[in-house]
Subunit: 138 residues, 4 copies
Amino acid sequence: MKTLVSKIKLRVRFSEVDSMGIAWHGSYVKYLEDGREAFGREYNLGYMDVYKKGFFTPIVKLDLDYKLPLRYEESAIIETKYINSDAAKIIFEYRILSLDNKLLAKAKTIQVFVNLSGKLELSTPDFFVDWKIKNKLI
Amino acid sequence: MKTLVSKIKLRVRFSEVDSMGIAWHGSYVKYLEDGREAFGREYNLGYMDVYKKGFFTPIVKLDLDYKLPLRYEESAIIETKYINSDAAKIIFEYRILSLDNKLLAKAKTIQVFVNLSGKLELSTPDFFVDWKIKNKLI
Amino acid sequence: MKTLVSKIKLRVRFSEVDSMGIAWHGSYVKYLEDGREAFGREYNLGYMDVYKKGFFTPIVKLDLDYKLPLRYEESAIIETKYINSDAAKIIFEYRILSLDNKLLAKAKTIQVFVNLSGKLELSTPDFFVDWKIKNKLI
Amino acid sequence: MKTLVSKIKLRVRFSEVDSMGIAWHGSYVKYLEDGREAFGREYNLGYMDVYKKGFFTPIVKLDLDYKLPLRYEESAIIETKYINSDAAKIIFEYRILSLDNKLLAKAKTIQVFVNLSGKLELSTPDFFVDWKIKNKLI
């Protein structure tokens, strides 16, 4: 089975830093979203791709482990890895790495499928089965 | 002519403070929005009130003058004052005041009316003329 | 052993809502911080209380479970509960509840003690042992 | 006199979009900061460059004119232009342009010099006079 991973670089903005001079822990939620959007652009699984198929994919679970601080203007790599699942879910695992490859944070998100009327989909939508086939995941 | 003013209290959150230990200048945009929403609730001119009449009211101009810093956990008063205008606009002036009445910041926003298809309204919508009459502004 | 819980009310701001019309999942990190700061004010364990004792308490773990969406202008209660631990950690569990008492989200954060030079404290700081005694937790 | 301008590209993030599906007006404050930081890196006038010389440069004035909306995932160019002044101030003018060169927003910020003890500097600091000379502005 193929491993689908996307990598992008972040640089800590002034507005993301707290009074300790390090990236505020809530800023990481944006970094993960940046990683997920980069994955979406690379593998055609972006918010708009999914929306056009008739679904929203709200996040139902977010776990974040902070290992080492990120300082203002520091750069890091967000690595976003797709985790395949039989459930009607989109699961990602993330690693935020310093430029010299130290693990700064790791995270996991779980998204579900909700149709445009707001109803939760309990079985994997057809378009997502197709996406999995196309990406040699099933 | 009546003066319509709304006042609410803010307290500076940790996430709003920058590495200088004071409220980041961008945080004030949220404080103004808090003031505007408080005004909307008090005078029935909230986002949803206007939306139900068929309009969005995007901000087209924002001016902010920062006079004195706001520190973490400090409280202040946001005073939101409606400025009447013949144009198809909603204009507010704001003052952010310390609890001992020092002027910390002042601001102004201008909003226009856009219908739900995204078209700019050049004349004042009927519902807003009614709102003005009800509030003894015309 | 006493249970220490703090409750405050939130109202979803326009700036916190995403294009689905519900509170963006990252906004909840601020809601948790609001809960934690309310707890800090109620039980003298705020950021500044701890800072005056010579410590920062960065968050090293954040888990968030989203159950039901929060819409623009909706109000909810953030319940922040202190979880006692023998480790040199501050642990909180949170519940975000609708006004009719439905569980909208639950969360957990773990904070560690770092001295002002940035060194991790492996044993519980004296001031925090005192705080626990004062609050009948040990 | 030389014109100092810096350009960078932005892409609208999901978290920056409001319930109208367009970039929330407060998100632009971050875009301007991105532009200003890019200018700082290009011309050695970043936050840290100035801090090392003993100064903070808080924003005292922010004016923003919104012309056309920015949608989710849309890209744009932030153009940050230094405006020379005899006063002890740093003034920038900004234009946010679509990729086909339409003016989406324009803005202006004014920053002052405050020493590390928080005192406002009324005359231009030596390091900034040197910076102006080096950049052929005086």
